[in-house]
């Protein structure tokens, strides 16, 4: 909920400036000092450059990725922070999952190189222009990238690491809580119950 008593002058002004420059951007004021901008993937480098040089969003706070396997897409999320305005701008874009490739933003913020290496390792996205996409956190990994949702983590752990017997009768925390409170487990959560995972 946005508190209407708060002075949102900075936020509204920033939204106005982004709107005037990028007409196709979907902009949403999530809450005070938090703006979400959804953009076409080819507009991301010009938008980030514009935000850095003209709107004083100097700081790349975070860069991460979300796997939307249902839509066959990856979502890239850039968090930019402005020390002058005290606002976070979240720039989101979607790229195809089949051809997981994007351009680097290393020339704008040097620390983006490390984020890109991590996303390359965990999601398998190739960043053209970044020449340091070599082995980073995982050593000797020869499976599909582990943060992709089609990677079966439990099966992998079962195949590779010895499981000590004795955890079979472990109680599901969710079931125990619902027994006490009488609350129902929603259907989407049942899928991830300990009993169904075996």
């Amino acid at each position: 909920m946005i508190n209407m008593n708060k002075n949102l002058y900075n936020e509204n002004q920033t939204i106005e400036e982004i709107k005037n420059t990028f007409h196709t951007a979907e902009i949403k004021l999530q809450r005070e000092s938090r703006i979400i901008v959804k953009l076409r993937s080819d507009l991301i480098p010009p938008f980030l450059s514009y935000a850095k040089n003209y709107l004083a969003f100097n700081h790349l706070a975070h860069f991460s990725c979300v796997d939307w396997i249902e839509d066959n897409e990856f979502e890239l999320v850039y968090l930019l922070y402005s020390y002058e305005k005290n606002i976070v701008v979240i720039a989101k874009t979607r790229i195809s999952r089949d051809k997981a490739e994007f351009v680097t933003i290393k020339h704008l913020w040097r620390q983006a190189e490390t984020y890109e290496r991590e996303i390359h390792e965990m999601f398998g996205i190739n960043f053209t222009g970044n020449d340091r996409l070599n082995e980073f956190i995982l050593e000797d990994w020869d499976d599909i990238p582990p943060m992709r949702r089609d990677f079966n983590t439990i099966q992998f752990a079962k195949d590779n690491f010895y499981t000590r017997p004795g955890r079979e009768d472990a109680q599901d925390v969710r079931e125990t809580i619902t027994k006490k409170s009488g609350e129902k487990i929603p259907d989407f959560a049942k899928e991830f119950s300990v009993r169904n995972l075996k």
């Binding site: 752990a157 010895y162 000590r164």
Partner: protein, 181 residues
């Protein structure tokens, strides 16, 4: 007078007495359990009254504390550290992650049972064990030493093939040095 067997027994008793009162722990923390060690070592719990002290390098240390989950990448370093240590050497598994995986039971990159890869003398359960539990684990280790039962290093030497096989199963690209003790 004593015969040879009795004499060596008495020497063993004296040796074990000395060993159990000077346990030097190699300063190597894995996972989140390392945060429990500063309070254990400092004035509140004062582990030094039991002869437990930190040591800078593995070659000078007696005890390897595995303080929490081990990723495969860390396991490599832990095996190298353990193999560099001089005998007598002991391993303490610390926290439920080393026993059965703990909360990382379904992780893609952490091992779940430490004693498949290194010979463990004492396990301390808990998530995380408090300094009291850590000290009680050390006292248990001292008991085992004085009874001559803390023979992890001997087990490792005798069953080296079995340990190596398990280690090679998770460490796919094996580029480890071979030590001849």
């Amino acid at each position: 007078m004593f015969n040879d067997k009795e004499a060596s027994k008495i020497v063993d008793i004296i040796k074990n007495f000395a060993r159990k009162h000077s346990l030097w722990v190699v300063a190597y923390g894995t996972g989140c359990g390392a945060i429990e060690l500063p309070p254990t070592m400092t004035s509140r719990y004062d582990a030094e009254r039991f002869g437990i002290r930190g040591s800078a390098t593995p070659r000078q240390a007696d005890v390897l504390l595995i303080t929490g989950y081990l990723s495969v990448k860390t396991l490599k370093r832990v095996i190298r550290t353990y193999e560099q240590m001089q005998e007598p050497k002991y391993v303490i598994g610390f926290g439920s992650c080393t026993i059965n995986g703990g909360m990382y039971w379904d992780s893609y990159n952490t091992i779940k049972a430490l004693d498949r890869y290194l010979p463990v003398d004492v396990y301390i359960n808990g998530c995380m064990p408090r300094p009291e539990a850590v000290i009680s684990g050390f006292i248990k280790l001292q008991q085992l030493i004085s009874e001559g039962k803390a023979d992890g290093a001997k087990r490792y030497r005798e069953n080296l093939e079995w340990y190596r096989e398990n280690q090679r199963k998770v460490i796919k690209n094996w580029r480890m040095p071979e030590y001849n003790w």
